[in-house]
C-alpha cells in the first residue's frame, strides 16, 4: 500500500498552491478561493491520518472543518461586499491605509 507520507506530500502540495495564490492574486474572490483550497488540503491530511490509524475521529473532525469553511467563506464574501461599496472594486492592493 502507499505509505502515508505520500498523502501528506499531496496535501502539502495543495497547500502551497493555495498559498501561492493567496500571496499573489489581487482579486479578493480569487484569494478566498485559494484559502478554501488550503483548508481542503488540511482536511485531506486529517482524513489520511484517520484512515491510516483505524480511527474515525479524524473524519469527524474533517466534517466540522468543512462546515466551518462554509461559514467563514460566507462572512468573507460579506466583508468583500462592504469593501466593494467603499472602493468600487476589490483590488486588495489598494487596501493599504496602514502603510508607513
Amino acid at each position: 500500500m502507499i505509505p502515508l507520507s505520500f498523502y501528506l506530500g499531496l496535501a502539502a502540495l495543495l497547500f502551497s498552491i493555495g498559498l501561492y495564490g493567496v500571496m499573489t492574486h489581487k482579486n479578493g474572490i480569487r484569494m478566498i478561493m485559494c484559502i478554501e483550497l488550503m483548508l481542503n488540503s488540511a482536511n485531506l491530511n486529517l482524513v489520511a491520518f484517520s484512515s491510516y490509524t483505524n480511527t474515525l475521529d479524524g473524519q469527524v473532525f474533517a466534517m466540522f472543518s468543512i462546515a466551518l469553511a462554509a461559514a467563514e467563506a460566507a462572512v468573507g464574501f460579506a466583508i468583500f461586499m462592504a469593501i466593494y461599496r467603499m472602493h468600487d472594486n476589490i483590488n486588495l492592493d489598494e487596501l493599504n491605509i496602514l502603510r508607513w
Partner: protein, 83 residues
C-alpha cells in the same frame, strides 16, 4: 514575472520543501494493513455514531456558529442601515 510573484513562488516552494522533507522523514506510527473490505459502508454509520455521542457538544456549538455567521453575513451584505 513581477518581483512579488517571484518572491511568493520562492516562499511557497521553500515551505513545500520543508513540509515534504518533514513528512517523508518522520516515521509515522501507522497500521501495517488497511482494513480488508473497502466497500464497507459502516464508515458513515461510525461517523454518525461518533458525532452524536462523543462529539455532540462541538456539533451543537458548530451549528450555532454557522447560524451566527450566516446572519452576520446577510446583515453585512445587505448594506449599512439599508433595511
Amino acid at each position: 514575472m513581477r518581483t512579488n510573484q517571484l518572491l511568493a513562488f520562492l516562499v511557497a516552494l521553500l515551505f513545500t520543501a520543508v513540509v515534504i522533507v518533514g513528512a517523508f522523514g518522520t516515521s509515522w506510527n501507522t497500521v501495517s494493513e488497511l482494513p480488508a473490505n473497502p466497500a464497507d459502508q459502516s464508515n458513515i454509520e461510525g461517523i454518525g455514531v461518533l458525532t452524536f455521542t462523543q462529539y455532540v457538544a462541538p456539533f451543537e456549538v458548530l451549528s450555532i456558529v454557522l447560524l451566527a455567521s450566516l446572519i452576520g453575513a446577510i446583515y453585512m451584505a445587505r448594506g449599512e442601515g439599508n433595511r
